[in-house]
Amino acid sequence: MNIVEVNGLTKIYGGRKAVDSISFEIKQGEVFGLLGPNGAGKTTTISMLSCLIRPTSGDAFIDEKSIIKEPMEVKKRIGVVPQDIALYPTLSARENLFFWGEMYGMSGKKLRKRVDEVLQIVSLTKRSGDPIYKYSGGMKRRINIAVGLLPSPKLLILDEPTVGVDPQSRRNILDTLKELNENGLTILYTSHYMEEVEFLCNRIGIMDRGKIIALGTKDELRLLVGERDLLKILTINEIPKSLAETIKKKAPEINKVEIFDSSIEILTLNGRKILPKILEVLLESGVNIKSVEVREPNLESVFLHLTGKKLRD
């Protein structure tokens, strides 16, 4: 059963299409990821789905309620974790949670019980009396998520919830979300971190310039790249851009060569086999090599394959 159905959703700002007629579905109980670089239209999509902004055209249904015709009903069914830490810094975590619970129409014992539950989920019960401004970035992020969980939503929407947190906190957040999903929570997750989406999501929509350019499971998306590998070579000195052509001539089976200041990324079949040829070209050109990495196809290489650019460009 689909809990989210998006049909031709479009948002135009001053003549520019921030989101361009996107359509997708999210099944109940799955984690759906929207992956794309900054400015791809992920936040605008989420803002429309959470009824914060009105689409220019198209519609979406969450639990069969239209975001245009029944926004209040949609809002009752979703929990939203924005990209920014939208909390009151001078209030304690508990006070923040109580306030947001009241905004969802909760009160009394039910609210108290739920606040305790979500504090436990994000492992912050002991520090719940401290004002938010005293929290570390990771702890703030966890309370930000706790607010989204408070109304026991049918769909939890998270917009880049790990931006700016340390690796340990990021791991903690991802593990928490994985566990929530295992307990039946449907999640819509956006990120430009490929690793997070790969770890968490069952199905992924890759966005670029307002459009969904690929959609499917991880394996389905990898097939788009074929069996190609991603070679990443880091160098000590700068690589001349003209080397791209030389490398392609030396190894015609290469699909794509991307040269950055002191790194080079190559998408190719049989990466390990052609690696010596590439190293030879680089060494002959006076480039000092720092490290070499051969990666099997992943979402990063899918994105590179589809757009010709890196996710974090």
Partner: protein
């Protein structure tokens, strides 16, 4: 409705935790009231202001003479009250209305005779609404005088009734005794003591501390409401506004909650100032609790409306933080919070009527100096509520256009 209340309450909680807000909204006005009150008190007591009073005396009898010559002409009052006689009641009303006199007293023909005969009579006092304090002083003096006369008349009637009922006096003797008693009652020394009593006990001269308690209290209302209005921009900046919007809360509830928060912060601030100054600075805010409540509510609403309008006309916390204090100072000065409006030139006096400060100050002074009750402050509260309605109407309309 509940959500409006919770949003407002949350704003109060946040303000209460903010040390800078606490200093700005509570400590500063209380310190300013104390400093200004102490610094300017000598000016208020050593140089009592002059009260110009117009009198139409159609009576020419003994009692009106006592009021004018012995009471107003007493050593204690003659330097403060300057009397000028006019020819008719109409002229009094006209001149007072034009602001030429702070108060006008009309003593009708037969006033003294009516008192002698034990009949009902009255003195009419007209006050210039622009000179509330001065008019209040005159009204208090006249009221004290008439009360004193009434007391003595009752004493005389009771005595006569007793003497007649006990046959201790013959009707023929009454004719001789009454004028004699009246003469004693009208003894000048006694009546001068009436005027002394009047000045000492009943007439309330404004004290600098009281004046500035009202003035600064009202001036800082705008600081409080502005700080509330700033939170609209603050919530946008920290993105909590968007988070409320994605919760099942209607736009009306969000805006209502923010406006309620603005109102609540200012209301609590003003109530604390009133209670604090009453206890520690001995400021008498008047005897009508209901009157005080009405004035507080209407003043807070007017300033809440003004801040809402200001928020709708500005684009950021920085803008409102820059314009707000300047506006508060200008309105406070123009409205008479720094110095009494009767010292202003006429054009400033007229301009001051366009400020909520002026109407709030006059309303409170009516309660404090004029012994006024609820009825007396209704015109002031009404004007403040009209101002509040206009400010809110435009402010809310513009804020909704801005998507708040």
């Amino acid at each position: 409705m509940k959500k409006i209340f919770f949003i407002g309450l949350k704003d109060v909680k946040i303000r209460a935790r903010d040390r800078a807000s606490f200093i700005m909204l509570l400590a500063m006005p209380l310190i300013l009231i104390l400093v200004l009150g102490m610094v300017f008190q000598p000016l208020w007591t050593n140089k009592p202001f002059t009260i110009n009073v117009a009198v139409f005396n159609g009576d020419k009898g003994e009692f009106s003479k006592i009021l004018i010559e012995d009471v107003f002409g007493s050593t204690e009052l003659k330097d403060m009250i300057k009397i000028q006689f006019l020819k008719s009641e109409e002229e009094i009303v006209k001149e007072v209305r034009e602001g030429k006199f702070a108060a006008g007293i009309v003593i009708k023909k037969g006033f003294s005779e009516s008192i002698m005969k034990g009949e009902n009579t009255k003195i009419e006092v007209y006050g210039d609404p622009e000179q509330t304090i001065k008019a209040g002083v005159v009204k208090n003096i006249v009221e004290s005088f008439t009360l004193e006369v009434l007391k003595r008349r009752i004493m005389m009637e009771t005595t006569l009734h007793f003497l007649r009922s006990e046959n201790l006096i013959q009707p023929s003797e009454i004719q001789k005794l009454v004028p004699q008693w009246l003469s004693e009652i009208e003894n000048k020394d006694d009546l001068v003591s009436v005027s002394k009593e009047t000045e000492k006990k009943n007439t309330k001269n404004p004290l600098a501390m009281e004046y500035y308690a009202v003035g600064m209290g009202i001036m800082y209302l705008l600081f409080a409401t502005n700080s509330g209005a700033e939170t609209i921009f603050e919530e946008k900046r920290i993105k909590t506004f968007d988070r409320i919007k994605v919760a099942p809360v209607s736009e009306r509830e969000i805006l209502g909650g923010k406006l309620f928060g603005i109102f609540l912060v200012a209301f609590l601030q003003f109530v604390i100032i009133i209670i604090f100054t009453s206890i520690f600075y001995k400021v008498n805010w008047g005897n009508s609790i209901l009157g005080i409540i009405i004035m507080v509510l209407s003043a807070v609403l007017a300033f809440s409306g003004l801040s809402t309008l200001l928020a709708s006309l500005t684009k950021s916390e920085e803008q409102i933080g820059g314009i707000g204090p300047a506006l508060a100072m200008i309105l406070a000065f123009l409205g008479g919070a720094m110095w009494p409006v009767f010292t202003f030139p006429k054009w400033m006096n007229i301009a001051s009527k366009f400020t909520p400060n002026r109407w709030a100050l006059d309303g409170f002074f009516k309660l404090m100096y004029d012994g006024g009750g609820v009825i007396s402050i209704l015109p002031y509260a009404f004007v403040l509520l009209i101002m509040a309605s206009i400010f809110f109407f435009i402010g809310v309309f513009r804020l909704r256009l801005k998507g708040v």
